[in-house]
């Protein structure tokens, strides 16, 4: 059954702050095999003009996707998560995420579409730091496949 269009534009309350740890950044950079010193060496990050080590560009997804759980698990929306694949992902950064950031995410349902039995859900996550300054916006497109199609996404 197609998702209810009246949810378009709905925003969920900001999440509790997520504190970005330097060891978590290091762990993530190691997991993707990225040896850029800006992720692990404070002095190297400062030489590039950053106040502390920064996180790789896609690091913040773990935070915004967890926040998107408010939408995904909203019983009123009724998304069948067992059929969901990740369609598109986009980030727009005001500045990189860095160690010591305390980040909150406000998730909004930007669009709901139904195509060939698939439900397509666009969620925008606005990420702010403790001072209320914008850090990054993440757009996540989720596709809940029609029951009979074969999984293809990631």
């Amino acid at each position: 059954m197609a998702l209810d269009q009246s949810f378009v534009g709905r925003s969920y309350p900001p999440t509790d702050p997520y504190e970005v740890g330097r060891e978590k950044i290091r762990e993530f950079a190691e997991a993707v095999g990225d040896t850029n010193p800006a992720y692990a060496d404070t002095e190297a990050a400062k030489a590039l003009g950053h106040p502390d080590v920064i996180a790789p560009p896609t690091f913040v997804f773990a935070i915004t996707f967890k926040a998107a759980g408010q939408v995904i698990e909203d019983p009123q929306l009724g998304l069948d998560y067992s059929r969901v694949v990740h369609g598109d992902q986009k980030f727009a950064y005001t500045r990189p995420v860095r160690a010591g950031d305390r980040l909150t995410v406000t998730s909004t349902i930007e669009a709901i579409k139904s195509m060939a039995g698939n439900d397509i859900l666009d969620i925008r996550g606005e990420v702010h730091d403790e001072a209320g300054e914008h850090v990054v916006t993440a757009w996540t497109k989720l596709v809940a496949r029609a029951a009979e199609t074969v999984a293809e996404g990631a």
């Binding site: 978590k24 762990e27 993530f28 190691e30 997991a31 993707v32 095999g33 990225d34 850029n36 800006a38 992720y39 030489a47 590039l48 003009g49 950053h50 920064i54 790789p56 560009p57 896609t58 997804f61 773990a62 996707f65 967890k66 694949v85 990740h86 369609g87 598109d88 992902q89 986009k90 980030f91 727009a92 950064y93 500045r95 990189p96 757009w139 074969v150 999984a151 293809e152 996404g153 990631a154």
Partner: protein
């Protein structure tokens, strides 16, 4: 921010150094731990086949993280990436052997923008399959 590439040194068509990124089952387990994405389609072959996949597949976000390394290695400062978006078109299938899979990434400057920014278009393939579509980054150059 301190990009090591100067805006004046690039033009539409400038190619970035291409790279190949290996991915094995061990890589996926490590990424699952670091990212918190423990979906069993990324580590449990039996589960993956039961939901209609040919085998375990890489996290789409892992592929996205590898592809942008072509840009961040080129520009030096990862903080110079101001926009980055992809479409997940095909999964990277990761067999349970000593080789795993390889993600091949190439990139070129597709547009020169205002304020010392350029748009870089990325091509990510695994085997003969294009695994990311509409893969684009906007980068702030020196």
């Amino acid at each position: 921010m301190t990009a090591k590439i100067a805006y004046g040194d690039v033009e539409v068509g400038t190619e970035l150094p291409a790279q190949s990124f290996p991915v094995t089952r061990a890589t996926l387990v490590q990424y699952a731990g670091a990212s918190g994405d423990f979906n069993p389609i990324h580590w449990n072959e039996k589960f993956a086949r039961e939901v209609g996949l040919p085998d375990v597949i890489a996290h789409g976000m892992f592929t996205m993280a590898e592809a942008i390394r072509v840009v961040t290695d080129w520009v030096g400062d990862p903080g110079a990436v101001v926009e980055y978006g992809v479409r997940f078109t095909k999964p990277v299938i990761v067999p349970n052997d000593d080789k795993g899979a390889t993600i091949e990434v190439s990139a070129k400057v597709a547009a020169v923008l205002d304020d010392n920014r350029v748009r870089v278009d990325l091509l990510a393939k695994s085997g003969d399959q294009k695994v990311l579509g509409m893969s684009r980054a906007v980068v702030q150059l020196a």
